[in-house]
């Protein structure tokens, strides 16, 4: 197992390097170049731009720039934000807890809702309950995230005034759990809607597949009570691919937070990425991109490990 994990981590290294090369080159090719951020100053002179470019090291060949970046990155020096004039690593770490909180809330809510619904749909297969749930999850999958977010704000924050329009809490005050949940509710619903629908559908079909297996019919013939058949035998087997799918799906939440954080002024890495993109803050963009890639690789690894743990037939050696 350990050997497998080490092997997978080693395999991830060239992937991450590849991603960083592509990202680095693409950013450099953006119109405006690395000093685009400074063009916002009305009377900035050409010579000032040239001086800044040289002082920040952006007049060097791109290959040399990349290796300097990579060398420092590995040592934990992720560069300095053009915009905030602070170390990139600190800026990202400052924002990461907010994103992790939103992701964790999103995943938890998705699971808490989708597992019972998926089971229900599978058990009540082809009844009106199943059809309603299938239709509902189809709608959930089709709703654009930004539209859902804006609608929730309009209805629940602006009209009904039940929840705040955005942010993580009132500024300058200590924030208790209840306040936090109030601020968290709308973003969490938005970020979990797609996954929630997807998980429900996935669990339903996975359950149905398992329930059609011969041993399930045998269990029924054996006279086992339904609750025991469904939860202990069917869910147990249907749950193996489901867990894997959930783990692989984690990066989707990361992508979801990008949109949701921007709509709800949620101060996480997603909004940091968006703000940095419109302000041409290359070092921060690189940092967030690589961190995001790391999270994707880690989720895939997690999926593999969970799979082997849950399914005794699977062994990696």
């Amino acid at each position: 197992m350990l050997k497998f994990i080490v092997k997978r981590i080693l395999q991830a290294v060239p992937i991450l390097i590849g991603i960083s090369v592509v990202a680095f080159v693409l950013l450099q090719l953006t119109p405006g170049g690395p000093t685009a951020a400074y063009r916002g100053i009305a009377n900035i002179r050409g010579e000032d731009l040239a001086r800044i470019e040289a002082e920040l090291g952006y007049d060097r060949p791109i290959v040399a720039q990349y290796f300097t970046w990579l060398g420092s990155f590995i040592q934990g020096d992720w560069g300095i934000s053009f915009v905030a004039r602070q170390p990139v690593f600190d800026l990202i770490m400052e924002r990461l807890p907010a994103t992790l909180l939103l992701m964790a809330a999103g995943i938890t809510v998705s699971l808490i809702i989708s597992i019972p619904l998926g089971l229900l749909a599978a058990i009540k297969r082809d009844t009106w309950i199943d059809h309603t749930l299938t239709f509902a999850s189809f709608v959930g999958l089709s709703i654009p995230v930004f539209w859902l977010g804006l609608m929730l704000i309009v209805i629940f924050a602006v009209w009904l005034d039940w929840f705040p329009t955005g942010g993580m809490g009132p500024p300058g005050e200590d924030i208790d759990i209840l306040t936090r949940i109030r601020y968290l509710t709308l973003p969490t619903i938005t970020v979990s809607m797609v996954s929630l629908s997807f998980f429900t559908r996935y669990l339903r079909s996975s359950m149905i597949e398992t329930m059609d297996e011969e041993y399930m019919r045998f269990n029924k013939a054996r006279g086992l009570p339904p609750i025991r058949r469904y939860l202990r035998h069917a869910l147990r087997n249907a749950g193996i691919p489901f867990v894997t799918v959930v783990a692989i799906h984690i990066p989707e939440f990361l992508v979801g937070t990008l949109v949701v954080e921007t709509i709800f002024s949620w101060p996480g890495t997603g909004r940091l990425f968006w703000d940095s993109a419109i302000r041409f803050d290359y070092p921060v963009l690189m940092g967030v991109l690589v961190l995001g890639s790391l999270m994707v690789v880690a989720s895939n690894l997690l999926a593999d490990v969970l799979y082997s743990k849950l399914d005794p037939r699977v062994r990696f050696d």
Binding site: R45, V83, T165, G172, S265
Partner: protein, 578 residues
């Protein structure tokens, strides 16, 4: 084996819960907070316990300002965003400041002048007498060394500051004593008085010496001499400023605390203004202004600005100033264009009557010439001028000459509603005199890109550009970069922004004259000639003066408009009721 699995699941759930709890926990402890150094605040409070206790408690109060843009950083030599100045101007101070009329007034120093000899006759030596008894908010004394250090920092090649303009003309700075600064210039820099002051400020030597300037904590939590000090910056959420207990005027500021709340979305800002979550909303977009004017308990403050919305005419057919434009090569056509414009519907309908017609590229401040007016709106006269120049109706209402239709292309950055509507108004007005106007808006990066990026303005790839620009308190830099013939961008390199491709010896001489003396009367005269030349050439058609519009809750009092400062320029005098 069967028994351990639920346990593992439970453990996983615990991990997730722990994660949530960690992120949920008290915001100011772990999430996204950069705290000001505790010693600084404590030390300050100890130094003058009586002052702060008395003055802070009487009027007091907390005020929340909504910012749709998060400041990039609060370092005056590194920041680009306007929002940065709005926040840092409460914390950092310059040697002098500008009053609403555009005159220099003392801040950390008295204002140098030729009259009392603090500006030498040749204008190369400027002496500042610093205000006595000023300390930084941590109690450390403010001295001449701080000024000297600021200059050294700006000129240090490791620091990548946004501008060295003017600072590079300084040869040396002497500090004969703690209260006196003598700045020696190698060449005369006419806006010398704005250096170290507007929009920059003095840096604290005792905090920054030996620090890595480009990534110092100072850039977020600056140490200043101003009425407030930054105590918290919650990235992406808010910046919190508390009254500086060591401020040199113990009766100010009136407020205890100002919270800058980051609200990236204009609509969210409107909602929060209505619910009272914010007391001040900075920079209201013209398109949504009626949402604020119709709100109970909210008033809209209009502050004039030096920015002028104008039409820039390209005198060349492309980038080569020697190759005249097919229509604008003829002064009659330029004048006809100016006479065809009626500014009233633009100002009344599109700007809700909140701006005034502009008459000059320098509309405000000491350098603004008085008594100017635009060519009167006269479509009949415009038609006559065009006829006179041989532009005759081609049969469909659009004029032509030698088979060339009078079709002009107007360009402005995309995505700005008021400008797009203005273009449509102009389209109608020009059509009435037989000129066809084609709208071709492009992204700002394409329009303002530099020569190498094929920027439309620099490359001369346009007929008419609608743009906004305005002078700083000292117009020398603005005039040089926009109107001097040496600023015509052309092959190779393409520096400068004289995209009108206007060449006039009298203009160049007047710009030079204004930039080579510190004698304010001589400069006023020079700039009167500059403006006259620009307007006579007819390449710059001023449309309207852009106003800055901010919304205030009726509970807030003390604001007075200052075109040369940002909305918070006098926030130390603000108070809030209730």
């Amino acid at each position: 084996m069967m028994r351990t699995k639920p346990m593992k699941r439970a453990a996983m759930l615990l991990v997730v819960l722990a994660l949530i709890a960690a992120a949920c926990g008290n915001d100011s402890d772990d999430a996204a907070t950069t705290d000001a150094s505790g010693d600084a605040t404590d030390g300050g409070a100890d130094a003058t316990p009586d002052d702060s206790a008395d003055t802070a408690e009487e009027p007091g109060g907390v005020l929340t300002v909504g910012l749709f843009q998060e400041p990039d950083n609060l370092n005056p030599f590194l920041a680009v965003q306007t929002a940065s100045r709005i926040v840092r101007d409460l914390v950092l101070e310059g040697l002098v400041d500008a009053d609403p009329d555009g005159n220099y007034v003392p801040e950390l120093s008295s204002v140098p002048s030729a009259a009392d000899g603090t500006i030498s006759e040749d204008g190369l030596t400027v002496t500042y007498n610093l205000v006595e008894g000023t300390t930084w908010s941590d109690g450390h004394p403010f001295t001449s060394r701080d000024v000297q250090f600021t200059w050294e920092t700006v000129m240090d090649p490791a620091n990548a500051v946004t501008t060295q303009l003017g600072y590079e003309d300084i040869e040396s700075i002497e500090t004969p004593d703690d209260q006196t600064v003598v700045v020696n210039y190698s060449t005369l820099y006419s806006p010398a008085l704005s250096l170290f002051s507007i929009p920059e400020a003095i840096l604290p030597a005792h905090v920054l010496e030996g620090e890595a300037f480009g990534e110092a904590d100072f850039n977020r939590i600056p140490e200043g001499t101003g009425p407030f000090m930054v105590t918290e910056w919650n990235s992406g959420q808010s910046i919190i400023l508390d009254a500086n207990p060591n401020y040199r005027d113990p009766s100010l500021p009136l407020l205890d605390r100002i919270i800058f709340k980051i609200i990236p979305d204009q609509n969210a800002g409107i909602v929060q203004m209505r619910t009272g979550d914010i007391d001040v909303f900075w920079n209201v977009d013209t398109a949504v202004i009626d949402q604020f004017t119709s709100m109970d308990g909210v008033n809209v403050q209009v502050t004039p600005s030096s920015n002028v919305e104008y039409l820039g005419l390209n005198l060349s057919s492309g980038s080569d100033p020697a190759d005249p434009h097919f229509a604008f090569g003829d002064p009659n056509v330029r004048l006809a264009l100016a006479m065809a414009i009626d500014r009233t519907p633009i100002i009344e309908e599109l700007l809700f009557g909140l701006s005034e017609a502009a008459t000059s590229p320098i509309g405000l401040g000491w350098a603004a010439p008085e008594g100017l007016s635009n060519p009167a709106y006269d479509p009949e006269g415009a038609r006559a001028l065009l006829e006179e120049s041989g532009w005759v109706d081609s049969g469909d209402g659009i004029r032509e000459k030698d088979g060339q239709r009078l079709t002009l292309e107007i360009t402005t950055p995309t995505g700005q509603q008021v400008r797009e509507l203005t273009e449509q108004v102009l389209q109608e007005q020009f059509k009435a005199v037989g000129i066809e106007l084609v709208i071709n808006n492009v992204p700002a990066a394409t329009l303002f890109g530099n020569w190498a990026e094929n920027g439309k303005l620099q490359r001369g790839d346009f007929d008419i550009a609608m743009d906004t620009w305005g002078p700083d308190l000292d117009p020398a830099g603005f005039l040089g970069i926009l109107f001097d013939s040496s600023s015509i961008p052309q092959d190779p390199g393409g520096q400068g922004w004289n995209f009108f491709r206007l060449q006039s010896d009298r203009l160049d001489e007047a710009i030079e004259a204004g930039a080579t003396t510190l004698d304010i009367e001589a400069r006023k005269e020079a700039y009167r000639i500059v403006v006259e030349e620009i307007l006579d050439a007819g390449v710059y058609i001023p449309l309207y003066n852009r106003s800055k519009i901010d919304a205030f809750s009726d509970a807030v009092s003390g604001y007075s408009p200052n075109p040369w400062g940002e909305v918070t320029w006098n926030a130390e005098e603000w108070s809030i009721a209730g």
